[in-house]
């Protein structure tokens, strides 16, 4: 066990930072805000934490706190600028924001280390602290998915007019999405640089957006559990695929494409459907109504992959 932990430490750390990065894109998405600004905040957070540690020799918590605060404020400002945009337009604006951050780091001279980036970021940050932060974030995000907050968030996303008529301020929710996304992105970036000790312009490019988005789409975009599933899969998959050898990239591409095409609600969605289906089967077996008896005989046996079957039950999914 300890051996496994030691030899896969980097992947375990990457799972945590990848998860929080994924959440920084998923949280706004759940509020109907198609924003990738989390990836840019990741870059800002990483560089800011690195600069603070190298130049001011601050402790890990100060670096993380400062990075999160800064990225939350930047998120708010960005939100104020572009919260009126929608759909793919908003997505493109935030992608542009992310890429501009990358260009700034290349041109930042001494402060950002140019194309080399920054290295030697060594602090007292421990794995225990990393796990603790990850769990706290997960718990907070999970809380926002249930109860009153959860219902309001769903309303803001699915039916903005209804939400308005219920007296929910769309503007406030959307701005909150930007702030939370910023803070989460900043946290992920800061934690990453503290465990990896180096950050460069190549680490915060377009690939980061793709990674975060792939995690939540394949894992499941409506629940933090989906983000967890996605983060685990896409952090460990490349490592597992190494066994295949030279065609690993190809297999990776095929897996992403298949998941995007055939699992519209992600793996988590499939699991939920599967669970629901099993429960119904069990209930029916206990007390089979006449109509379902035929189904049990195998006539209209719904396949777990057939998600349309359950699409109508979507809103009851927690």
């Amino acid at each position: 066990m300890m051996d496994f932990y030691d030899s896969n430490l980097v992947l375990i750390q990457a799972t945590c930072t990848g998860l929080i990065l994924a959440l920084s894109i998923q949280v706004p998405l759940r509020m109907g805000v198609f924003s990738f600004a989390g990836a840019g905040s990741y870059g800002i957070g990483a560089y800011l934490a690195a600069i603070l540690v190298i130049e001011q020799e601050v402790s890990a918590f100060v670096a993380i706190g400062a990075a999160m605060l800064a990225t939350a404020v930047i998120g708010l400002l960005l939100g104020l600028l572009i919260f009126k945009l929608n759909g793919l337009y908003l997505a493109m604006a935030t992608v542009a924001f992310d890429l501009i951050i990358g260009v700034i780091t290349i041109n930042g001279g001494e402060t950002t280390g140019g194309s080399t980036g920054l290295y030697g970021v060594i602090t007292d940050f421990t794995m225990g602290q990393m796990f603790a932060l990850t769990v706290i974030v997960l718990a907070l995000v999970a809380l926002s998915e249930v109860g009153r907050t959860g219902r309001r968030v769903d309303a803001v996303r699915d039916d903005p007019e209804l939400a308005l008529s219920m007296g929910i301020s769309l503007r406030r929710y959307r701005l909150t999405a930007f702030v939370v996304s910023g803070a989460l992105g900043g946290l992920a970036g800061a934690m990453n640089v503290l465990v990896r000790s180096a950050i460069g312009p190549l680490d915060i490019g377009f690939g980061l957006i793709v990674l975060g988005l792939t995690m939540i789409i394949v894992g499941g975009s409506r629940s933090w559990k989906g983000a967890v599933i996605g983060a685990i899969i896409f952090t460990w998959l490349p490592d597992i695929l190494t066994a295949i050898g030279e065609w690993q990239e190809l297999v990776y591409g095929i897996i992403v494409a298949l998941a995007a095409v055939f699992l519209p609600r992600g793996i988590y969605g499939v699991l939920v459907d599967l669970n629901k289906w099993l429960r119904r089967r069990r209930r029916e077996r206990r007390d089979p109504p006449p109509a379902v008896a035929a189904e049990q005989a195998g006539d209209i046996d719904p396949k777990p992959g057939d998600v349309r079957e359950f699409a109508l039950n979507e809103e009851t999914v927690p």
């Binding site: 001494e110 280390g113 194309s115 290295y119 190494t242």
Partner: protein, 394 residues
């Protein structure tokens, strides 16, 4: 101290910080990472090469691995390690820093692994070095010419920094009688940026030529027509262009299309078949490099012959560097008479104080953990690379 003096004080602090981190971690775990150290070498010594064999820098990683493989084969057939055999494993980084760091971590955890050959890519190397230094894993890189790679006594780089041998181009500039140079460089890699921003202005001062124009290009620049026409409008005697491998054929093609027929001062990124798509337009590009298979040194020719016999082709500089890295490690392990990582580290330090003859040339020496090499000057022609002169002859 090229790698340190460049960025001044803050870099030193960074290096010092890593060193402190090492002390702390050593104090904390009491060297528990070290493999059971008995006297003498075990029958089988496990080494790992963490290099990209897929992805954007695959061509360099794959070539380096051939060099390692050849050296290991020779060492195993020789008596250098007193009958012990090296078993070399290859881990593909996929040109991703995270995969590289991860592969290194598993190597560190595996107590049987005595040392690691680090990645050719700077971005991967920068991600690996702090780990290796902190947890006491001897690691030898090739290429990886950025700051933050050689960070302490566990980290070595068996490739000279380009800026250290690039000045041998002076002789070419003097011989050709160039009085002015137009420079176009990419800001993507630190190495090439440094040559464009620092080395050329310095050469200009020393040799008394004029830099008519200096243009930086970016990572997404694919069409160089506009900067080239600007460059030529400044009427330089010769054009210097410092681009990553894949951009070189385009720059050469477009320079020729723009009516420039003279020589082009380039960099070794143009080798490894990168110029081939340019066809005839690639002729006349010259560059300094740390190794060319035609160079004279006896030890280099011995390597070239062995490489030809093994692979049926001539070696690239990446293979030569890796070959020397493997021998350096083998000599250190023989001197340490142990595969204990700390013992290897100490032996490497002793070994690096000596000069040696290797694939890269004669009387090579180490400076601050980085190999120093006189370098050679080559010219590209469609038929192959032509050796112009050797820095060793200066």
């Amino acid at each position: 101290m090229i790698w340190n003096a460049r960025r001044g004080g803050r870099r030193k602090i960074a290096v010092a910080a890593i060193a402190t981190g090492v002390l702390l971690s050593v104090a904390a775990c009491g060297g528990s990472d070290a493999p059971a150290s008995g006297e003498g070498l075990p029958d089988e010594i496990k080494l790992v090469s963490v290099n990209p064999t897929t992805g954007v820098v695959a061509f360099a990683g794959a070539s380096a691995n051939k060099g390692y493989e050849l050296a290991v084969k020779e060492i195993n057939e020789s008596d250098l390690l007193g009958g012990s055999k090296i078993k070399l494993e290859f881990k593909d980084t996929k040109s991703e820093p995270q995969t590289a760091a991860s592969a290194l971590t598993s190597a560190i955890t595996d107590r049987d692994v005595a040392a690691v050959f680090g990645s050719v890519s700077s971005t991967e190397a920068v991600a690996m070095s702090p780990l290796a230094q902190k947890r006491g894993m001897p690691i030898i890189y090739t290429q990886a010419g950025s700051d933050g790679v050689v960070v302490g006594d566990y980290t070595y780089r068996a490739t000279p920094l380009m800026s250290s041998y690039y000045p041998i181009i002076s002789r070419f500039i003097k011989e050709q009688g160039y009085k002015s140079v137009g420079v176009m460089y990419t800001s993507v890699t630190p190495t090439l940026q440094e040559i464009g921003q620092k080395t050329y202005p310095q050469l200009a001062k020393e040799l008394g030529f004029e830099i008519t124009k200096s243009i930086a290009t970016s990572a997404t620049t694919q069409d160089f027509a506009a900067p080239i026409s600007q460059l030529l409008a400044s009427k330089p005697d010769v054009v210097a262009t410092l681009q990553v491998g894949a951009s070189n054929p385009t720059v050469m093609t477009q320079l020729r299309q723009a009516g420039y027929q003279g020589k082009v001062l380039g960099n070794s990124g143009a080798s490894a078949g990168n110029l081939k798509p340019a066809g005839k337009a690639g002729d006349g590009m010259v560059w300094p490099v740390d190794f060319n298979y035609q160079q004279n040194a006896e030890s280099s020719q011995k390597f070239v012959a062995a490489y030809r016999a093994e692979y049926g082709e001539v070696p690239l500089n990446y293979a030569a560097e890796a070959y020397d890295a493997a021998y350096f490690l083998a000599r250190s392990m023989a001197a340490a008479d142990s595969t204990d990582r700390e013992a290897i580290k100490d032996a490497m330090k002793e070994e690096a104080a000596k000069t040696f003859d290797g694939a890269l040339g004669k009387d090579l020496k180490w400076e601050n953990g980085t190999l120093q090499v006189p370098g050679v000057m080559v010219e590209y022609t469609t038929e192959g690379e032509k050796l112009l002169y050797e820095g060793a002859g200066e």
